[in-house]
């Protein structure tokens, strides 16, 4: 009897170990992707600094409100304290017609490697146009400023690299949320493993 009980406990432990290995591998893979995405975004910011001059804290709007949030979902099926995260993005202001025309011209010239970034920029631009048209009426009605695209902090003519940086960091945010979910699953697995080992001893 003791033999069969210890066999089932080590089987559970083995499953936890395999799960932990898989999750660790996934975690490292996501970190690698995040590193590449952040590197691309930081390089774009450097390019924007070269075009526009210093870009930093002096441009931050200290009345900013977050437009990218995270929803936290608790797992009711188990007693686990670990939750899952999901990215929640609110629409922001879109660019003027002139900016859209220049962006579409730029998009045609870029190769396949830039397609993802270009499509993200165009989507953001479209959202900005919608908010701009709504912003004027809302200001007239309420007298208060609505939350604008952070790109507007940097003046009227924003260099293209800064828009690319924004798209890269938005992509990075999705990876961050995936990493957070992976880390939660890994912590849960490690906790289960520790519990099983304590039960064995």
């Amino acid at each position: 009897m003791n033999f069969s009980r210890s066999y089932s406990m080590s089987e559970i432990e083995e499953k936890c170990l395999v799960n932990a290995v898989d999750l660790s591998e996934e975690y490292l893979r996501l970190q690698e992707r995040l590193k590449i995405t952040l590197k691309k975004g930081l390089f774009s910011i450097s390019q924007a600094k070269y075009c526009k001059g210093n870009i930093g804290q002096q441009h931050f709007n200290m009345d900013m409100k977050a437009t990218t949030l995270v929803t936290v979902t608790e797992d009711d099926s188990t007693d686990s304290m670990y939750s899952t995260f999901e990215l929640l993005t609110q629409p922001r202001a879109a660019p003027s017609t002139h900016e859209r025309a220049s962006n579409s011209g730029t998009a045609k010239q870029e190769g396949s490697n830039q397609d993802a970034i270009t499509s993200a920029i165009n989507l953001l631009d479209t959202l900005r146009v919608r908010e701009e048209t709504a912003e004027g009426s809302s200001r007239n009605n309420t007298g208060e400023k609505r939350q604008c695209d952070p790109l507007k902090w940097f003046g009227g003519f924003v260099p293209q690299p800064l828009k690319e940086a924004q798209a890269s960091f938005m992509e990075a945010l999705q990876l961050v949320v995936d990493l957070a979910n992976c880390s939660q699953a890994l912590r849960k697995t490690l906790q289960d493993l520790e519990i099983e080992r304590e039960a064995c001893t």
Binding site: K65, A66, T68, D76, M170, A180, L190
Partner: protein
Amino acid sequence: MAQPNKTEFTGAGNFTNMNGSLIACIADEDTITGFLLAGVGNVDVRKKSNFLVVDSKTTVKHIEAAFKEYTSRDDVAIVLISQTVANMIRLAVDAHEKAVPAVLEIPSKDNPYDPNADSLLVRVKHIFGSN
């Protein structure tokens, strides 16, 4: 379709949408600028922000105080911290055991990501080593 059970945070109303939580960030200026461009930045009516720009003049005490503040706020779900900065307050990062907010070490601008320094992976290595 059944709605998942979403935690409602009843903080001081520091965020615009009651259905979402903030992402806090402790990193260098360029990384913070990037994440702010992506829309994570939030400053409430008491002028408390969810980000800290770390430069050569930022003290370890200041970083640690910001980390403890972000990890104790109800309206923060994820805390991003550059690994270089995390190494400066390693004890405080390792001591964080709560599930939410999740603390994530991200690659810093000047130094590559080191898996051997990540608190979570060190814990994994420790558990595998003791097997």
